[in-house]
Symmetry: C2
Subunit: 355 residues, 2 copies
DNA sequence: CTGAAAGCGCTAACAA
DNA sequence: TTGTTAGCGCTTTCAG
């Protein structure tokens, strides 16, 4: 029995294309990579051979040869809850879409914070939020892997990040309630361990302060973003001896729950209670009264992160090819971007008409 | 200026490990791949060298050398709606988790049905549902790329698929309502273009037939799964001259909307109207009354699909290595799996107490 | 403008 | 058990 040399079946390779078009593989490579120094007649021959043979260059060979990888990993921490949110889907959508546009491959990592990331072959990483996985971030930074963080403004690390102006958004939400004449304004927070929730609380406080409204701790209800906790907060809020007339809720999902509770308790919205959410989750559109909310440009944030990562990746390979040395503070510096969040007024808030 | 030979910075490679541990690269390769024929003392030396040098084998080189790729693409069609659902997230979660377990890389493709898939370097494909993208499926099958379809039972193609027994689930839901004494049972469908929605309708009809309950077309409300259409269906349903006493809704998200509408219209649930959903979406747990529903094992389905794909991939590489030729109908045959859906009884249904 | 040839890092066939 | 060596398919010098 004769030994067969090749372990796996042969795919059409650059060699076949070269043979078919009567040029060298180098020339084929040139037309693949659009390197301009190819005679037009040759480039046409090669191009048509590629078509005929349905040739697709092997990314593995390309990457092995170039040392570059255009695989983008999106790291989503798999901690309780996050991954069941509108937020996660929007992120995936945004990143996914932009990757298709920029011809990057999107590798999805649903990881818990303890397991170190397997970074084999990854060209860049997008960390969505960082809760427990700061170590993973520092790790990849140390290894020189281009990284960007989204939905978390990182002050103390030399890394690009793109976040939403949660404090600003919250502030404008509360300002709106104040303009409507409300003075007793409650806040149902999200999980205060997340930067987003903390910043929203901050914005809430700032708006009250600037308007000389005394902060009342009994008007602040902490939750973990879950509907269950939103429900219980809403009950306490409404049944309180001196109930607030308006409430700013840290997420639309929770705001909808609050509306439901209010109705169950015989309250009318917005007559008895003005409610404002955060997210602009499409769910808020349905139901009897449209939810006024703060829109955060999640998709845009996700898309921007891919672009920024792409920039970092190109930068890195340029440097490796003998470009000028990395100058700190130059164009190579990480970018820190804060995207504005915008108030969307619908029907769930009403001017205060009390005494 | 001296030319620098290497275009990109040198990473630690198998050669470094070999040198550090005083063996050949082959031996190093053997311990990496856990091929047993290595002297224990050597394996230890190599292992510790790998640790010391923090060596991670290049997947690109590995794949180039083996011709195998363990990249799994998850194709989610980006048509309106699907990607905003509980369903999509569960799928991603399930597939993502199992990929991490089996050490497969998950490539996420959010694609519209028209664009041909870029299959470069993909070892296998999971098609989540197939609506408009049947061509993409046939394409990858033709190219011999291991593929599996989830959430769509494919009869007419030689491909593995894993779906939920939607008809069965629907039938047991409606049976439950019948057992409770209901005779006027309505159904709010999902997007009938999806197999899931069509099968649920089928199950609804079957249950009625088997129990000799006359099918009433005015009790069937077609929707596209959106909350908006659910709302309008619910309004028509409730305001009808001869309203149903129970309704089976094709998704929990819609069922929640129906509950909301019922309450707005002054109906009590479950006293005035029994409601049963489909999905076991955790949202159904909150709210004043827990939603009775049909649980579909989405995560399990997703996980199974990865396992099956993994099987197909191994099978393929075994065959390529000179294993016995593919025998149709043998162990290599595609598997078609139907997972049962299970009724989850909570508080949204009540025995019929009418005349 | 082109092509020969030297890698990229790894696996696998074969010989020892 | 082990090491030698020939690829895997592509990019990139460097010399025409």
């Amino acid at each position: 029995m004769t030994r067969i040399k090749k372990a796996h079946p042969k795919n059409i390779s650059i060699v076949d294309v070269a043979r078919a078009s009567g040029v060298s593989i180098t020339t084929v490579s040139r037309v693949i990579n659009k390197i301009g120094t190819v005679k037009e007649s040759n480039r046409i021959k090669v191009a048509s051979a590629i078509k005929d043979l349905k040739f697709q260059p092997s990314i593995f060979a390309q990457r092995l040869a170039t040392g570059r990888s255009n695989v983008v990993a999106l790291v989503i921490p798999r901690y309780e809850g996050v991954f069941y949110s509108f937020y996660a889907l929007e992120l995936i959508r945004g990143v996914g879409t932009m990757c298709e546009v920029l011809k990057l491959d999107l590798l999805l990592h649903l990881t818990d914070a303890r397991t170190p990331l397997s970074l084999r072959g990854v060209g860049g990483i997008i960390f969505s939020d960082i809760i427990g996985n700061r170590v993973q971030l520092e790790d990849s930074l140390a290894k020189g892997i281009p990284s960007v963080v989204i939905n978390y403004y990182v002050d103390d690390l030399d890394v690009s990040c793109i976040a939403i102006d949660n404090a600003g958004g919250a502030e404008s939400a509360v300002n709106y309630l104040i303009e409507l004449g409300h003075k007793k304004i409650a806040h149902i927070t999200g999980d205060i361990m997340t930067q987003a929730a903390a910043k929203r609380l901050e914005g809430y406080k700032r708006a009250l302060e600037k308007n000389n409204i005394k902060l009342r701790n009994d008007y602040i209800f902490e939750t973990d973003y879950s509907r269950g906790q939103a429900r219980s907060a809403a009950e306490r809020l409404i049944k309180s001896a001196d109930p607030a007339t308006a409430v700013f809720v840290a997420s639309d999902a929770m705001a909808l729950e609050v509306m439901a509770v209010a109705r169950e308790l015989g309250k009318n919205i917005p007559d008895d209670l003005s409610i404002i959410g955060f997210d602009d989750n499409p769910s808020g559109l349905y139901g009897p009264v449209g939810l006024t909310t703060v829109r955060q440009p999640l998709i845009r944030m996700a898309e921007e992160s891919v672009k920024e990562l792409n920039r970092l990746i190109s930068l890195k390979s340029a440097t490796n090819r003998g470009g000028s040395a990395m100058v700190s503070g130059g164009k190579n510096a990480p970018r820190k971007i804060l995207l504005p969040a915008e108030l969307v007024i619908r029907e769930s808030c009403k001017p205060f008409s009390g005494g």
